[in-house]
Symmetry: C2
Subunit: 349 residues, 2 copies
Amino acid sequence: MEKIKIGIAGFGFMGHCHADTLKTIDEIELTAVADTNPEQLKDAPAGVKVFKSMEEMLKGADMDAVIISTPNITHLEMVEMAAKAKKAIICEKPAAMSVKEFDQMTAVTKENNVLFTVHQQRRWDTDYCIMKEVYDKNMVGDVYVIKSQLYGFNGYMHDWHVFPELGGGMLYDWGVHLIDQILNMVNAPMESLYADLKNVINENVDDYFNIMIRFKNGVTAEIELGTYYLTPKRAWFIGGNKGSAMIDGFAGEGKIVRTSHLLQNVPGKITMTAAGPTRSFGPAAPGLLVEEPLPQVNVSHRDYFLHFIRSYYQKEEIMIKPEQVRKVLCVMDAVRESAKTGKAISLEL
Amino acid sequence: MEKIKIGIAGFGFMGHCHADTLKTIDEIELTAVADTNPEQLKDAPAGVKVFKSMEEMLKGADMDAVIISTPNITHLEMVEMAAKAKKAIICEKPAAMSVKEFDQMTAVTKENNVLFTVHQQRRWDTDYCIMKEVYDKNMVGDVYVIKSQLYGFNGYMHDWHVFPELGGGMLYDWGVHLIDQILNMVNAPMESLYADLKNVINENVDDYFNIMIRFKNGVTAEIELGTYYLTPKRAWFIGGNKGSAMIDGFAGEGKIVRTSHLLQNVPGKITMTAAGPTRSFGPAAPGLLVEEPLPQVNVSHRDYFLHFIRSYYQKEEIMIKPEQVRKVLCVMDAVRESAKTGKAISLEL
């Protein structure tokens, strides 16, 4: 099978990550990299052609597909150029700055009949895939709440991410992943959304958000991220009527907790706590709480590209579908509107 | 100083708690207890007159004040009787089933010129008082988020609390405390509120809620309670731009965490996690996170009654003011409306 020849437009942080990953994949050959900043090209892999712009790369490189990892605001322009040059396209996330922009992208890629997908590789995160299996297999019964939390100590963001005019901010950077994961997990119509979006440390871009989404199937999801929330962790919680599943850490360390029996309506043993007597919130009787391991999964971001290869050769349907990417961008627009107005936004999605 | 003679109407769980507390207070004499259920009166303290109803107690007991600890739906009727009998009134929480009911209570108590307050004793909880001091003294800088969380393993609630027609459910039982604490801490006008309210294990009453309140001073508070949320804890988090304060447990165990310096906008050291490279959410460099102890407080629920005595003798203003109690009930009404409609509720309070 012939190798897929790929070029990378934008050889910054993610561009370098992609080059490193592609090195490990036999079915792909990295043939070119382009960046407007010569500094970024200094450590381009040996034998790879370097170009000072996407235009030049599209003219001069031998490529079947292009990975777009330029700053967010340039994605539309890059996708248009690549589509017209008939290249298959992997665009970094967020694909677009708005739903409107994304619709222009899908139009031009359809018009030119090129494969178009987005690098939503966090659908292959270990922590996420474990929780998705808990959800899909009803391991904690009927789910009433799902929490996805990401907290860090790093008040300041990096490079162009601190500039709104370049598409900076954490909602664009990580929000797009965390929302995509939740929509892909719950996969049900939404009822409404309410969100808080703040600049805590960064003057110009958001670095904290908390999003509550109520789905029509009775599940409520809460997605919270803080870059200056000083209990650094990547945490998940799924609460159901047959137990709770929890994770702390990208590696998916965690457990499922159940009660050995459900307490019936009883007078209730009165437990004295530091805050006086309580019947509902004292310590659990020994043996009441039972722990089980979480399911195991075996995934990596490399799988995103292995999947891309299969779809490139039409052996499987693309998993990151434009209509899904569009839905995430609709939610992101709604988050900004809710945060601005203080109103809940109805979502007929 | 003459002792305040107090009677207790409703000698169930809370009635007994009150009797135990009053025993420890010299300035108060428990003279009577009343309950419609003879079983409850069997262990009435020696020397205390027992009555089979509030009416009988108001006729036959020597009382200056009455504590009302009957089921929630009977509070209005009890307050009306006690006010007309010119007794000072301590009513259990929630004072009323609705704002409308509470307005009737304040009317009748004003009319009869009797002291009327509500047993919102959790303003004297250790965990709460510590966090209030962190907030009041700006110990973590400008606050952007406050979380108050209460999770338990006890899916089923007790006694009359499982019956909606008696005013059961966790929003009435604990919600009223958690909301009162937050309003008393932030003490600023509210912008809007969005809430989720569910029956997870109990068929007939709510046993899970999550309430997001955005205040006009820029603080967002989240109040969450789950009776079948299997990481049992009483947790607080206050996030500010100068650090984070956190508590786990009614006794107030916790810490303040700060960063030794704020990271400026830099290319950012790339940290490899189980979920690929990240610059914002990798582990903290050694020494970056600095811990400090939380402030110490010395409070107990007994203080509620010591305060009541001082206000009874007009030595200090009552701290649980009817207008504050009313505001909490307005928020609870808004919580139910938001949960029912999926809309955010604007609160001009």
